[in-house]
Symmetry: D2
Subunit: 264 residues, 4 copies
Amino acid sequence: MTDKKWRTAISTFDDDGASIGGYQIQDLMENLDFGAAMFVLYQQRVPSKEEAKLLNALMVSVIDHGIVAPSAVSRIVAASGVPLQACVAAGILTIGDVHGGAGQEIARKLQIWVEEAKAAGQSLADKARAIVADSRKAKERIEGYGHPLHPHRDDRVDCLVKMAGELGLRGDNLNLALAIQDAIEEATGRHIPLNIDGIMAAVLCDLGFDWRVARVFIFVPRAAGISAHAVEEVKRERGWRKIANHDEVEYDGPTGRTVGEAAE
Amino acid sequence: MTDKKWRTAISTFDDDGASIGGYQIQDLMENLDFGAAMFVLYQQRVPSKEEAKLLNALMVSVIDHGIVAPSAVSRIVAASGVPLQACVAAGILTIGDVHGGAGQEIARKLQIWVEEAKAAGQSLADKARAIVADSRKAKERIEGYGHPLHPHRDDRVDCLVKMAGELGLRGDNLNLALAIQDAIEEATGRHIPLNIDGIMAAVLCDLGFDWRVARVFIFVPRAAGISAHAVEEVKRERGWRKIANHDEVEYDGPTGRTVGEAAE
Amino acid sequence: MTDKKWRTAISTFDDDGASIGGYQIQDLMENLDFGAAMFVLYQQRVPSKEEAKLLNALMVSVIDHGIVAPSAVSRIVAASGVPLQACVAAGILTIGDVHGGAGQEIARKLQIWVEEAKAAGQSLADKARAIVADSRKAKERIEGYGHPLHPHRDDRVDCLVKMAGELGLRGDNLNLALAIQDAIEEATGRHIPLNIDGIMAAVLCDLGFDWRVARVFIFVPRAAGISAHAVEEVKRERGWRKIANHDEVEYDGPTGRTVGEAAE
Amino acid sequence: MTDKKWRTAISTFDDDGASIGGYQIQDLMENLDFGAAMFVLYQQRVPSKEEAKLLNALMVSVIDHGIVAPSAVSRIVAASGVPLQACVAAGILTIGDVHGGAGQEIARKLQIWVEEAKAAGQSLADKARAIVADSRKAKERIEGYGHPLHPHRDDRVDCLVKMAGELGLRGDNLNLALAIQDAIEEATGRHIPLNIDGIMAAVLCDLGFDWRVARVFIFVPRAAGISAHAVEEVKRERGWRKIANHDEVEYDGPTGRTVGEAAE
């Protein structure tokens, strides 16, 4: 345990006002939208109009997605008589390594692979083939491809690819991610499309974000959707509703024992 | 416990894509910024440019604010070796009724008071004087005025008041909130300015939001700041740092007893 | 915001060791079971053997209860690739005012009613009849009676009533709670049994606990069950399972709109 | 995403009552204390009296420990106007890999090392020397030794070692853990004592628990302490207190920039 003073480079405030990354907060309020302000918060620079547009689109793409894990949890908690911020906290906890959080690992690897390709003077297409060959040899799945709910196509992904191109922001990370998609199809004969975690990781890397923050751009926007579900639950439903109801749950553990017989 | 099917009017998805409030998600991605998409999520209509601008500014105003309760909690949790979403969940839990969450109650009351004034044909200035007189008689504080960290002036508040005016979005709720500020000064001789919870409540009401969602527009943007603090903690610091360290904590409970003597 | 030093009367530690409520921790470890140690933590005195036995039984009664809200949430979070403590945190958030947390309000009222009966020199049976009559007039349900999953009888409740009697710990609060059950039957002809929240509230009050801590004796023991479900989920299942699956969710919001037409 | 029915082997209930691991809940309530019931929950068998005594002592040892990370977080959240279960959820989130949660990894390694020693016909003392030599070569710290707040001695550890011996429950895992402590001293000349995470891991392994559940026996008991702090905060203090106050926080990020100049 160290005794050092707490310190931060993110934001500060005093009697003369508050600032984020060195910008007066009013300056940000008057001149930036929320996506652009998040860019400043994480990169300490103001994004171009194109960068801000792409980052906003990426955030909008995951703002809500029906009743899946985060919103289901939020609704169950809301039905228990709990304030809104607690429902959202529970929902955000589900953005783990399986869904949502997966983007962090994909982003980390994309940045490494792009560096490796550059250092080796290798084309991204060749790098992609090598990555797919390695993963097949190791019998390991490459994360970021395929989605149980969107097996063939995910409009959100197609839209982000298109927008990145139109805005002149398609960089090495997205190019490699798409080259891997092609290499998988080449090697297996199956089209397994880049999924939403994968495209977000690639776009965030191309926009210059640290891979550690990939999941932030899922759970901040999704917090809006998670809250909306909690509010709807409270306004529309009453009390304690069936989830996977207890009588739909199969019990397959031991039965019929007593403490008495175990103690003998 | 009811057996009804789960149902929702917020969003849906199928093989043909996903939609929010009836809008294809790509449509929202290509045409709206994140603040505007939140407007759609909560009001099921696309905001005007002015409404979107004001809502984004409001969200930017609370995106971060140094190391106070939400970010302090997030950093302590982050220092404990915990994934990012859990740090943010803990931070969001602090947006309770004392700070941040207070806006919900203010919004609820503003909507009631505005209705009462209209029904009674009373001017907002007169209504404000009556509200202040009532609160003084009941010796109760009107929430939404005064801030321990910004006693004299909060630039974020001034900026939102100015923007609401310039964008033509200053409505009855904000007018009443400012009239109450004047009435407090008139009655007490003290200028106790509208605080950030108060201005947010007033602006959100004027923008047509349900009072139940006032705190959503604090914790969604602040989730971005809370995450930034957790990431900074992990990148900059190592291990377990002193908080309010145990040796700064005064112990004033009983001492020197034993189980033996209590049992006799 | 006050500047006062943090202070606590609960526990402390220094180079000579740690203590809870003034007892050396080794003393508690060697001489008390966990239920008794919780008694010390909350009442700063060592319970009698009978008190410890009843408190342990009360805690065991709610250690787990199949897959209902807290464990369902824990399992969904666990399936998302999240560490154990976060699964449990999410599960505990469901111990809100609807189930589990209800005991707090019941305990508060029982303590008031017992005081009122004493002050008025009224028998508990008469007080119970008056309470039931008042609730019927106000058309308000008395909390703590009836359980959606156990409409006729809950063995846990019967067992706690029996044990409280056998251990000589049946006091005014439990007697009043049972008198209310009789008075409801007398007034309505229906047997609506004291439920688990109700019995716990009554027993905790008779054991001398503050009503504010009633739900602690639900969520501390249930944390054990919630964890067990998270561990089982991770060990037995793989990846992301269906909850209330999206295609079982009925969507009844607007459809087929575009941003373009809204903007016109 | 699989469609399989939810299933569990932990507990069940129907109209004839509830059971845990096959035992009627009343049977457990009447015959076991809370620690013993947790044993049943996780091992599906009733512990001996000695096993129950040791497990209870282990749980009592961590029931509270002054104002450190979990209780500090709980108090900050409590001061924000948040219900008790949410304060505890936030506190539990801090039981991460750094403190508390570390026991899981230690338990996993101890079980492997004991197996390796047995398979190789190696004495635990020799195995310990080999482990310490390997860690010194790799310049890696062996987790479970040394504590920033208790550098020389932790009474809780000494007490558990003594009780395990007296109860006839000192097994290979604890013996190896203590042999490693000796081997560290032999190799470095420094006495770095087994810490609370280490002793808990060793005792839980000797009691037959899965290493995955080591941290459960921290956060379930500590939930009691975390709650006690939240309750004390609300009863004793008012409103929003200083933590590491903003004016004690050093800001060392960029200053004085404007959006205007960045856009040029």
